[in-house]
């Protein structure tokens, strides 16, 4: 089993060591095992949980919500009703966000193709320019 020190995890995930310690302090992460010198040793499972936390934070979920979702992630069959409901609600939020992102992606694809397909420069930029001048 691979083990990672706090600095390695910090570098790998782009999270500060303070955040990593804080997550443990508020019990978002269960107490990280230490070696004889007291140095935290994270496992791949911890990394997976931390990546989940990062994704959920990008969706603006609160740490309290993430804590509940992690319970569901740990033991979905025995999760409390409220946690199950929260998970459904968050799934809906993610789906809405996904639709918005897909629409944005399609719009940007169209704009890029319009610029690439134009023989006389980029019509999008010209359009923005003319709107700015009006």
């Amino acid at each position: 089993m691979k083990e990672y020190r706090i600095g390695d995890v910090s570098k790998q995930l782009g999270l500060s060591t303070d955040s990593l310690r804080y997550y443990e302090k508020i019990d978002l992460l269960k107490k990280i095992p230490r070696n004889e010198s007291g140095i935290r040793l994270y496992s791949d499972k911890h990394l997976s949980i931390l990546k989940f936390i990062q994704r959920a934070q990008k969706m603006n979920f609160t740490l309290a919500e993430i804590k509940d979702l992690l319970q569901m992630r740990e033991d979905p069959q025995h999760a409390r009703t409220e946690v199950r409901q929260l998970t459904y609600a968050k799934l809906e939020e993610v789906e809405t966000h996904l639709q918005d992102l897909t629409t944005l992606k399609n719009e940007l694809t169209l704009l890029i193709n319009l610029c690439a397909g134009s023989e006389d420069g980029c019509p999008i930029i010209e359009n923005i320019d003319s709107e700015t001048k009006d």
């Binding site: 399609n106 694809t109 134009s118 023989e119 420069g121 019509p123």
Partner: protein, 88 residues
């Protein structure tokens, strides 16, 4: 006489030469078919970008027939004619 209405929208962009050819092609085919229940409209994709995206348009020219994106880029005349006739 066939009274099925067909709406064709040609999504174009400014400075897009192929778009002009697509418009000519649509006009040509409608003239060939020779019935007056086929309507067409040229749309500037930048003016109606939300609508274009909702139809799945990713490039210009795009030809939408009865609210379905049917061609991206110009088809040949025969293909366009066949597609329209199949809807009549």
């Amino acid at each position: 006489m066939n009274k099925t209405k067909i709406n064709i929208k040609i999504f174009c962009a400014p400075n897009c030469n192929r778009c002009g050819r697509a418009v000519e092609l649509v006009q040509d085919v409608i003239k060939d078919i020779g019935i007056n229940t086929i309507h067409w409209r040229k749309i500037n994709v930048i003016d109606e970008i939300d609508y274009a995206v909702s139809l799945g348009i990713h490039a210009t020219p795009s030809i939408v027939i009865n609210e379905n994106l049917v061609f991206t880029a110009s088809p040949n005349k025969q293909t366009l004619k066949k597609t329209i006739l199949a809807l009549l």
